[in-house]
Symmetry: D2
Subunit: 343 residues, 4 copies
Amino acid sequence: MMIVMKPTATEQEVQAVIDRVQSVGARTHLSRGEELTVIGAIGDREHVARLELEGTPGVDRVVPILKPYKLASSQFKHGRRTVLEIGSRKIGGENFALIAGPCTVESREQTLETARVVRDAGAALFRGGAYKPRTSPYAFQGLGQEGLRLLAEAKRETGLPVVTEVMDSRDLEAVLEVADVVQIGARNMQNYSLLSEVGRCGRPALLKRGLSSTLEELLMAAEYILKEGNEAVILCERGIRTFETAYRFTLDLTAVPVLKELSHLPVIVDPSHAAGRRDLVTPLSLAAAAAGADGIIVEVHPRPEEAICDGAQALLADEFAAYAERVQAVAAIAGKATSAVAV
Amino acid sequence: MMIVMKPTATEQEVQAVIDRVQSVGARTHLSRGEELTVIGAIGDREHVARLELEGTPGVDRVVPILKPYKLASSQFKHGRRTVLEIGSRKIGGENFALIAGPCTVESREQTLETARVVRDAGAALFRGGAYKPRTSPYAFQGLGQEGLRLLAEAKRETGLPVVTEVMDSRDLEAVLEVADVVQIGARNMQNYSLLSEVGRCGRPALLKRGLSSTLEELLMAAEYILKEGNEAVILCERGIRTFETAYRFTLDLTAVPVLKELSHLPVIVDPSHAAGRRDLVTPLSLAAAAAGADGIIVEVHPRPEEAICDGAQALLADEFAAYAERVQAVAAIAGKATSAVAV
Amino acid sequence: MMIVMKPTATEQEVQAVIDRVQSVGARTHLSRGEELTVIGAIGDREHVARLELEGTPGVDRVVPILKPYKLASSQFKHGRRTVLEIGSRKIGGENFALIAGPCTVESREQTLETARVVRDAGAALFRGGAYKPRTSPYAFQGLGQEGLRLLAEAKRETGLPVVTEVMDSRDLEAVLEVADVVQIGARNMQNYSLLSEVGRCGRPALLKRGLSSTLEELLMAAEYILKEGNEAVILCERGIRTFETAYRFTLDLTAVPVLKELSHLPVIVDPSHAAGRRDLVTPLSLAAAAAGADGIIVEVHPRPEEAICDGAQALLADEFAAYAERVQAVAAIAGKATSAVAV
Amino acid sequence: MMIVMKPTATEQEVQAVIDRVQSVGARTHLSRGEELTVIGAIGDREHVARLELEGTPGVDRVVPILKPYKLASSQFKHGRRTVLEIGSRKIGGENFALIAGPCTVESREQTLETARVVRDAGAALFRGGAYKPRTSPYAFQGLGQEGLRLLAEAKRETGLPVVTEVMDSRDLEAVLEVADVVQIGARNMQNYSLLSEVGRCGRPALLKRGLSSTLEELLMAAEYILKEGNEAVILCERGIRTFETAYRFTLDLTAVPVLKELSHLPVIVDPSHAAGRRDLVTPLSLAAAAAGADGIIVEVHPRPEEAICDGAQALLADEFAAYAERVQAVAAIAGKATSAVAV
């Protein structure tokens, strides 16, 4: 890191910083310009990171040079991309995966019907929520264990691997009985206890970016999972909070190529929650595929007007096959093959 | 709520919305302008809230009229303000409470020394972290149970009630052995499982606003706690995330008078985490008191340059008494009395 | 609009609001719920808009129902889309237009060489800056009138219509001698004097969204131009300012389908300024085309490493033809034809 | 500045950057860590600033070390603060100035009545708008030259110096006939032509921060004025745009101590436009004074319910004297004397 000293810093203050840096085993490198003095600290990433030099007398600011994450970084894999294989479907690299299903598991009929539709249209994985984080304590919170049972049934019937969310470490064991991929929602992206638990469980994790998390924070959250020895993390852009009120969230597609540059992990996009409106899901899905996403996770419902939760943003099951075809055509132009297994 | 129909909505679409609203027991109210039709839905708040009409054919947008929270609202207490009494210190109403202590409990000496200093300067409560949410998995995560023991000792010695954070429901029991107030951090503000557990524990809760949470979301998070029968919630503004990079977070002091208008709950401010720099803590503390805050939670350290965590933002223990005096002078102009018990 | 009264509003306060609304010739519509009273104001948009009722005793908030813009709205054209014809190139509707050229006109050679390259690759219009808004007063501010002369020469030689920016009303006359489309930059989006002048000049205008402008504000800015009788406005999304610091701006592609729903005006995207980095320009361009943009405005330079301004984001002239082909392939999937004239 | 090379950068790429830096007369300084190479560029600020090295092969990112502004920086005055003297009122340093008056000049009676009230309560300057930037082209745009005449009359009668806004260079001459301080509004903060013109006019300027401008951009805008030889610039925080929708803008009071650290220029706060609601103006004014502001600019109206523009946020003339007293009491605790001249 670079420590920029104030123009008014004294010799003693400069020396005190140098001593502090050297005390953690790092080398220093002094650079005196006409107006400023800059001290470079070179050494082990973690040791240097623990130097909390902001606020030290004479220090103007500290500029980190190394990224604070390591296992999640592109360098860690020397430029090779991680490709996950989940029930014979591939995610990452040259593969494009469509993950589809209802926002919430509501009933046996709705779940099985949707699972069949998305399988037939070539989805790689089936998604569905049993535990739902809701802003209001008065809103429907998901079917819980009953929802997990319905997901298991859909999986048996269609052969599709299942993605479902865990909100509480105490539910993890039950979730692992059905989930092929464990989802961590945007509101829990910095729930560090949960991240570590999911890391330890060894199952692939789908990690959604927090509403106002920087890419660096997302990669640090992934690092919490990777650090436990779990190498299978899928990053998911799902819209960020901005000043714009014309839509629920602002889908940040610049994150797709930039995350793929910073990290070896697969990057997918959730256009449903970002938009909050069905008519925006198709253009945003096409845009995500064009931006180079490794996949899309999208909500589908046979009768959205009856959905208990977020029906307004669900694609119609009837129209899903046509949607999937267009998205995959754009993904192909962006250089991807589709990862679904022939049925 | 008001349902604004699209200019192109048909008679059948308008009727379908009316039928849907009436099906949950609400009354409707039709208003036809020259360009638009608006349907008012009047009835039980929770029933109407569950109507997810966005995306219904013909609907342009849905404008909520009632606030989605109830127990947290000013109306619920008919304009009376909640005043908490914690170990004979009052928070809320006419009382101004200073909550001070180290960011993290690091050692016996640091903890006891700081506790004595803040007690002598008139702090109402003692704060200190045993479990620390850290962006990096490589950073110090707090002393855990050992930290709780040191907090208990500081409490015995100084008589100050203790505020400490819980990050995981599984630690709650241990935390409750020492905490007079249980803190929920900004990153866990929408960890709904944790909110409900803290609600059920019955102990006063200090709920920090998420980095990018609206006031409405903060009040909905408080509602999760209140709904479990726990009436003792303190709201805390601690800086929001904006485009500005000159400081860590942007302290949002407009939130203070607005939260006090919307809710009966006490509202305090954390200037330390917002600023991230010691020299900003005093002007922001004075500003918070001037804006009408019911208290301030602030970090103090005897030797900040040795602090393991966030030393750069800690006030110097030596200077804390002078700080407290100035803050309380401004609070007095804003109409507050100081809530500390004479020592 | 809907005027929501406070729960504590008195009968007199309700009546005073009703009287005020009726005094501007609007009708009122009273709706009393169990907890709240709502007054609907129905009448001429502009009269109602001038009622500034916020802050009136008893009023909780005012919810606008009608959009504040009229000429820019979809309704104004009854759903038909505006298609501009500029030098026989079409923008809007089914047409996709590539607008390309250097950020800044730097020299005769650079200008003519770039113009030829983009014409040969099928660009519809040529862009280039003679007047450059720069954050720093010490940075190069453009060649001014000399730049306009070079643009005129490029136009004569290639036959491409020219898009160039005007920053000051006093330069408008000179700009109009060469510009087929007058660009108003993001920083001037709310420079109302300039908007009105450009409206009066009658030439097509390319209006960039301000860094932190809502879509509604962008459409209101367009309304300033349209109101002067100038019907030819192209809206341009160019990235908004968010908390994310990993890139210069956050390209907001949700704006594309939403602007096309709200307005009849053509909507294009500028991926160069949003990204600030060449390697992001292609994925973001493909994404913009996939989202349904009516065109893309992009920077191209024969030797970006020698560019005086923003070279880092310019596409290489050598690679432009391949880029154009891919973008147009995606635009075709999104339902567009390319608007360039065969050369 | 520091140029951080990519881990994959070759020797040739490193050398090419060094050559480029040296070609503008700057010295280089090479620092090789285990994972990264960093090149320091040391030399004349403006020359180095013109190096646009982002996007150069092998370059990861460029970290500026020197601030891009010079005349506006604290260092330029070696830590001394600028104190302006306007008609014998002082702004800056130890002085606290209240600037008050109507949002818009509406009539002779309203203008003179308000001017008398604010003078009697100890305001240092009188504010009032003749040219009003309005989001809607259909809204009242100010009285223009007639408004300037009324301001001149108020000045003659009360002796108060006048602050009024200029929106268009072509109106500057007329504005200068009455204005003691020329205001540049938030929407024109990056209207560089206007900034330069105001710089050349030599009259003190009040420069409002743009809705989403960083402090660095604000200081760069000030630099445009200062560069023309005009040393009298007052910076004004007036609320920034964030995700929060509970209020119009989010007043950023952290900007006050930080701007005072970065720059020698006086810093004032406009709480009226930030809040948009009268009841928030007092707590935010007290908070601004407590944060160390050099003054406050606030809107006052004798009969706000009749105001043509922004009546909802105007303080009542009747209550202004009590307001001024409280604000000055807090300013005194923050170490300020009041700058008004005894009447």
